[in-house]
Symmetry: C2
Subunit: 112 residues, 2 copies
Amino acid sequence: MPNQMAELNLVFQALADPTRRAVVERLSRGPTATTELAQPFKMALPSFLQHLDVLQKCGLVQSRKSGRVRTYELAPNTLREAEDWLSAQRSLWERRLDQLDSFLEDLKEQSE
Amino acid sequence: MPNQMAELNLVFQALADPTRRAVVERLSRGPTATTELAQPFKMALPSFLQHLDVLQKCGLVQSRKSGRVRTYELAPNTLREAEDWLSAQRSLWERRLDQLDSFLEDLKEQSE
DNA sequence: CATTTGGTTAGGCATGTGACTAACTATAGC
DNA sequence: GCTATAGTTAGTCACATGCCTAACCAAATG
């Protein structure tokens, strides 16, 4: 899965923008239509659409259109993949500290 | 803390680059000096240094210099802040689904 | 003290990103 | 069918990002 990496690039890139994070926050409370989603932001609609595209292309969000209104919703799997990467790094780091601890313990025991 | 947001921008931006994620992965296994960190990458050292700067400016990494060698290490608190944001969104989403479930349950009970 | 070694600074260049306006398409409602 | 509404497409522009080379500084080391 070398593709995982490419996806992480896109996901983190997507989350680096406050507008897009705000959209994710909004969508974590439930599906929402384009215009309603856009409302809190004072940017032009096409600009806002670009953000939605970014979110969709990286898989954080999906949408379907019925009639003339397109509704977006969160796709939590992708969110979790990012979360997993982060927690993996942190747990590696913590394990290393544990090893360091027991190494220091050993040293102490030897000197006793 | 409106500053939290600005920091998240920088952190996710930092993690959006595969070189920088690789550095974080390396550092989660323990502190490392600049040149050794740079070795696996075929980019010029100044380019690589820029990546380290990005990681340091957003607080993911810290460094100190002794003699002429600078050693980098992971700063896991920042990592956790990003992780927390992600898990908050996901848990909001999950809670909403639960509510939806019990809403549907209620409907079902009423019709019985 | 001359030289290598580890790291840093400066400046330049191609590409990517995020915003805008203007013009367009397609459904809904009267 | 006409008009308003929801969304889309196209094209432009300023600025940020990521890479490079060249030159530099500072601590080992012979």
